[in-house]
Each structure stands twice: as structure tokens, then as C-alpha cells.
């Protein structure tokens, strides 16, 4: 990979990608893959489907780059694509599973722990995954933004395109759901 792209700003990478420079786009993928993984895997669980959705996020980004005007940060733009795709996937799973069983699609998410270094770390990830999966998707997305992305309530609202008041009320509803869940763990 071109060394210059490692130091390049997002604007430069976007411009080069628009000209068809795949190396520049590779740098965008490398730069934001962890951020996308936190959203997608936080929402869907650690499964092979999450990997597919992650790829889909970047393919969609590449195809929509000509429409990216730079009004928002590139990270926010990618995050929005990731959120939309994961929420659509949850809806699709719910529809699919409601046709064949009375269980919700969310419950089918696999939670796999990749290479746990020790029991304590494995447990920590298990607790986080269990807590996230226990939440309703509309509350879960807000907790993912706060807990895994470290966003403020304002940033969460901007990324999700929701009014600040809605985010705050969903956070308090999530708090109620979590209190019960954390007690059981």
C-alpha cells in the first residue's frame, strides 16, 4: 500500500477513490473497519452474517461516494450506512423467522468469542454481548453508540438522525430494561 495514503486525510482518500483508486479505498476500509465492526457486531452479534453486512457497508459506501458532499464527517457517513444496514438486517431476520417460528430473529444471533486470552476477558465480552442482545434493537443501537463507540448523546442523535429528546428518552427506557437484565447476570 502506498505509504502516503496512511497519512492522507479522509478528503484526499475520497477524491482518489472517486477516480477509481482502489488503494485509497483500501485505506478507508482499514481506517474504519473496527468502527463498523463495533456497530455491526454490537447489533447483530459475532456471526458470519456480521462479516457480510460489514462488507456490504463498504460496498455501499463505494457506490454512494459520488453523492458524498462532505457536509458530514466521513466517519459519520459510514456510521449511518452501517446503522441502516444493520437495522434493515434485523427487520429482515424478524420477518424471516416470524414466518417459520415464533422466536424473534435476534435470538438467533451467534455469540462466539474469538481467541479469548483468559477467562476474565472472555467473561467480559460475554457480559457485554448478552446485555446488548437482551435489548430491543431501537434501544440497543443507542447503547452501542454510547458504550462501544463512545459517542455523546448529541453525537448519537446526529448519527442516528434522531432528535436529542428521543435519544434521552430511549436511554432511560434502556436503563429500565438493563436494570432487570444486569440483575439476572
Amino acid at each position: 500500500m502506498k505509504e502516503s495514503y496512511r497519512l492522507a486525510g479522509d478528503d484526499e482518500l475520497v477524491k482518489a477513490s472517486l477516480k477509481g483508486d482502489k488503494l485509497a479505498f483500501s485505506e478507508i476500509v482499514n481506517r474504519y473497519r473496527k468502527m463498523v465492526a463495533r456497530t455491526v457486531k454490537g447489533m447483530l452479534g459475532d456471526s458470519v452474517y456480521s462479516e457480510d453486512i460489514g462488507q456490504e457497508v463498504f460496498v455501499n459506501l463505494y457506490n454512494s461516494l459520488p453523492e458524498f458532499r462532505g457536509d458530514a464527517k466521513l466517519s459519520t457517513y459510514i456510521q449511518r450506512i452501517a446503522v441502516n444496514l444493520t437495522l434493515n438486517e434485523i427487520k429482515r431476520r424478524k420477518r424471516f423467522f416470524s414466518m417459520f417460528s415464533h422466536k424473534g430473529g435476534d435470538e438467533m444471533s451467534e455469540i462466539e468469542i474469538a481467541d479469548p486470552e483468559n477467562e476474565e476477558k472472555r467473561e467480559a465480552k460475554e457480559v457485554v454481548n448478552k446485555v446488548l442482545m437482551s435489548l430491543d434493537p431501537k434501544f440497543r443501537i443507542i447503547v452501542v453508540m454510547r458504550l462501544l463507540q463512545g459517542y455523546s448523546t448529541k453525537e448519537t442523535a446526529e448519527t442516528l438522525g434522531l432528535p436529542l429528546g428521543t435519544v434521552l428518552s430511549r436511554l432511560s427506557r434502556a436503563q429500565e430494561q438493563l436494570k432487570e437484565m444486569l440483575g439476572k447476570l
Binding site: 473497519r33 462488507q55 476477558k121 457480559v127 457485554v128 459517542y151 436503563q175
Partner: protein, 117 residues
């Protein structure tokens, strides 16, 4: 970090006014990290190359089709012109009957209709 501590962090993160900026880093240090598998970037680029190859293939096919159609249309037009010239040379006219290969003589038609020969 003990699970109790993780639970406390989760609870804190949901409070609207809590500064969550450092939480992802703390969790990552405790093994709560997320990433895609090996070769993820290559797979994405592979999918993009696949898309552009398909698009290139489609464009190539359309171009070939246009070229073939152009050639067929030209050959067809030339054949029609030759047919018209040969008809004119044989029948000395461009009338509808000459196009259908029927003679212009009314008598012949009447004789045919009456006798069947």
C-alpha cells in the same frame, strides 16, 4: 476486570450526561474488542472489482450488440435495394402486383378465375 465492573460501566454509559469517550478504550483493554476477520479489506476490494468487471462486461456486450445490429441493418438495406432493382428490371414497374409477382393483365386473371387454369 471483574464482570461486576463491566456491568457498572454498562450502567454508567446509559446515563445521558455521562462522558462515554473513554469507555471503548477501557473495554478494548479488557478484551471487549470488535473487528472483522483476516482478509476483510481484500474481500471488500474483491467485491468492488467484481462489480466493475460486471459493468465492463455489460458495456462490452452492448457495444458488440450495437455493432452487430448496425452490420445486419446495412446488409438488410442493401438486399432490399438489390431486390427492388431486379424487380424493376424484370417487371418494368414498382406496382404492388409486380412486387407480389402477379401479372398486370386483367384478362389472364379472369381466365384463371373462370376456368381454374
Amino acid at each position: 476486570m471483574k464482570p461486576e465492573e463491566i456491568k457498572r460501566i454498562i450502567s454508567e454509559s446509559i446515563k445521558g450526561d455521562y462522558d462515554t469517550g473513554k469507555i471503548p478504550e477501557i473495554l478494548e483493554n479488557e478484551g471487549v474488542s470488535y473487528d472483522f476477520g483476516k482478509g476483510f479489506t481484500e474481500k471488500v476490494i474483491g467485491r468492488l472489482s467484481g462489480i466493475s468487471l460486471t459493468m465492463k462486461g455489460d458495456a462490452e456486450f452492448r457495444r458488440s450488440l450495437n455493432f452487430a445490429f448496425y452490420r445486419i441493418a446495412l446488409t438488410g438495406a442493401a438486399a432490399i435495394v438489390i431486390l427492388l432493382i431486379s424487380l424493376f428490371l424484370m417487371q418494368d414497374s414498382f406496382s404492388f402486383n409486380s412486387l407480389l409477382g402477379i401479372g398486370d393483365s386483367v384478362d389472364e386473371s379472369i381466365v384463371y378465375l373462370i376456368t381454374g387454369f
